[in-house]
Amino acid sequence: MDIIVCIKQVPDTTEVKINPETNTLVREGVPSIINPFDENAIEAALQLREKHGGKVTVITMGPPQAAEALRMAIAMGADDAILISDRAFAGSDTWATSYTLAQTIKKLGKFDLILCGKQAIDGDTAQVGPGIAEWLGIPQVTFAVKLEINGQKARVERLLEEVNELVECPLPAVITVVKQMNEPRLPSLKGLMRAKKMEIKTFTAADIEADTKNIGLNGSPTSVVKIFSPPPRGGGEILTGEAEEIVNKLIEKLKERKII
């Protein structure tokens, strides 16, 4: 079974801090990581390979340094990795990104399953997975928490607001996974050695025969008008006194606000 996992290198937003004086992002020392949901997608792919055999190929679109994320995926156990990198891709929104990834997947040819994280933690759109499915004209199943493959069919449990939904879907398909699906493995020593030596293939816009109308800033329907820091929030009232007194104060406040 041929599985393609689409990943993204992102700044670790849990490490992002705000400089309280300038109210801007402090970027120094913020590490780049594989988007956490994509690690779950890699883990899911590796588990499927262990069960059904086959090959796991990891692809990413990004600047040259995104190769590091691919090396990490190789260290976890992926078989092959492709970096899609070209200045022509800069400024891509989810339209252009999903087009570029789908075009690369078409170029690779054979695949049974495409896995993605449900969303990236920097942009949080959750739009690229379904976008890839649409460009390829194959079904999508989003927010997967459990996944089983039987022949050419996938049985997927989706994590929705209040319930889970069990669906059946023919392959090939795009499936996006949530955090609760699995616990991503750590890279093995052998994997790290392999990742270090491995030559990462790079595809340019020409290599994937991309239509320039659909890539980069020019190919993106949406564009950024401005970026700004959210207004800082001042703290409220800290209630003080003995425990009983504090709780009584709180109840009074809630009564004043007509909540209770």
């Binding site: 970027r27 989810t94 739009q127 049985r155 564009s223 401005k226 409220g236 800290i238 709180l250 209770i260």
Partner: protein, 412 residues
């Protein structure tokens, strides 16, 4: 497509360095033969720059030039009219977010001097629900009706909406950022060639260009970005539930007076490939977070799974729902349906009580618009106190049971 610094205009003021969300701009010594004044000039690292354009308005000297070559799509935008709202239904009930969006959509439609329409996919009978859509301000209701649309499936919903959009050409299309809305919008936008912005927290019409300005958080809520769709239509956006407040019923007597447009789509085999086999209910969800007026949430401070009982007891006496931080869900203390925050749910109740939650930015992103926030935490420096209206610096094991007890006495 290119970006460059105009050396003769750059003064080395560093405003652009601060504006760049990607750290792609730095200052270097001005080359000896370069025009302009000042010791330093800005340089852009093209490997890091994403051409987002944030630096362009930040520069007071018009020294940054971002050229976007116009090519490709050439739509006649004058053919696109009207603001549409996706009337998401589950089990035949229109979801609250649809009414919230109709309220917001009404303002946008009035700014654009156009009409507001609701778009419903489902199977009959839905007459009563359709009356509600008119009552909440829809001038028109488009109703795609088919047994395959009774429950949400990506394929048939995308197909039906594609046909409606192609025929009636809306300029703006808003959907709730629910699991259904996000799954659908992402697929539909590619099929119809629309621009799509996820999880907007602010919508407005640019008074001159008459286009939709869509503001949304990025980087886990650390920065805000305003996005536009210039030359594609419709301009699509998803909005999280409870970001906008639903208005009171606008026209209580308003009924379908000929403005209901029914449409029966025809599906191909490809549209119907994914089948629902079973709905797995979660017995621990007693009150739905998204609809709850009061939420009591527990975090890592609870220490272990069984202590969620304290949270449940307080929630029960308040008639509220149980929420949880991501740490507790990741630890397996409680199911993911309870998770509040960036990767869980955005909530906006009247009262949110955070117990033993430090308040990482990802959690705050999901609850900070609650009307009243109470935080109980041992650490006086916990970020949760920055957003709390009332803070208690102390042990949740002391305060939560005490609060439960006092509230019980009050009730009795």
């Amino acid at each position: 497509m290119s970006i460059k610094i105009l050396l003769d205009k750059c003064t080395g003021c560093t405003l652009c360095v601060k504006a760049c969300p990607f750290g792609a701009i730095s200052m270097v010594d001005r080359p000896k033969d370069a025009p302009g004044k000042g010791k330093k000039v800005a340089v852009i690292d093209l490997n890091t720059c994403t051409l987002c354009g944030a630096c362009v308005p930040a520069c007071k000297f018009e020294a940054i030039e971002l050229k976007k070559e116009l090519g490709g799509v050439d739509l006649d935008l004058s053919h696109y009219h009207g603001v549409w709202v996706f009337a998401e239904q589950r089990e035949g009930k229109i979801q609250p977010v649809a009414y919230e969006l109709l309220t917001e959509g009404k303002k946008l439609a009035s700014d654009l001097k156009t009409e507001l329409a609701a778009v419903l996919c489902g199977d009959e009978p839905l007459e009563e629900e359709i009356d509600h859509l008119f009552a909440y301000g829809a001038d028109k209701v488009y109703f795609a009706v088919h047994p395959e649309l009774k429950h949400y499936h990506t394929g048939p919903y995308t197909c039906a909406l594609t046909e409606l959009i192609a025929k009636y050409k809306p300029e703006v299309f808003l959907l709730g950022a629910t699991t259904i809305g996000r799954d659908l919008a992402a697929r539909l936008a590619i099929r119809v060639g629309a621009g799509l912005t996820a999880d907007c927290t602010g919508l407005a019409i640019d008074p001159e260009k008459k286009i939709l300005l869509q503001t949304r958080p990025a980087f886990g809520g650390n920065i805000m970005a305003t996005i536009q769709t210039l030359r594609h239509r419709p301009q699509m956006a998803t909005v999280r539930p409870k970001v906008f407040r639903k208005a009171k019923v606008q026209n209580p007597k308003s009924k379908n007076d000929g403005n209901l447009i029914k449409f029966r789509p025809v599906f191909s085999e490809e549209d119907l490939l994914v089948r629902i086999l079973e709905i797995v209910k979660d017995e621990t969800v007693k009150v739905n977070l998204a609809d709850a007026e009061i939420i009591v949430s527990g975090g890592r401070g609870l220490g272990e799974a069984k202590n969620f009982k304290l949270i449940e007891e307080l929630a029960a006496v308040l008639g509220g729902a149980v929420g949880a931080s991501r740490a507790t869900v990741d630890a397996g203390w409680i199911s993911a349906h309870h998770q509040v925050g960036q990767t869980g749910k955005t909530v906006c109740p009247k009262l949110y009580i955070a117990c033993g939650i430090s308040g990482k930015i990802q959690h705050l992103a999901g609850m900070q618009s609650s009307e009243t926030i109470v935080a109980i935490n041992k650490d006086p420096d916990a970020p949760i106190f920055k957003v709390a209206h009332y803070g208690i610096v102390g042990d949740l094991f002391e305060y939560v049971p005490l609060l439960t007890k006092k509230l019980k006495e009050l009730k009795a």
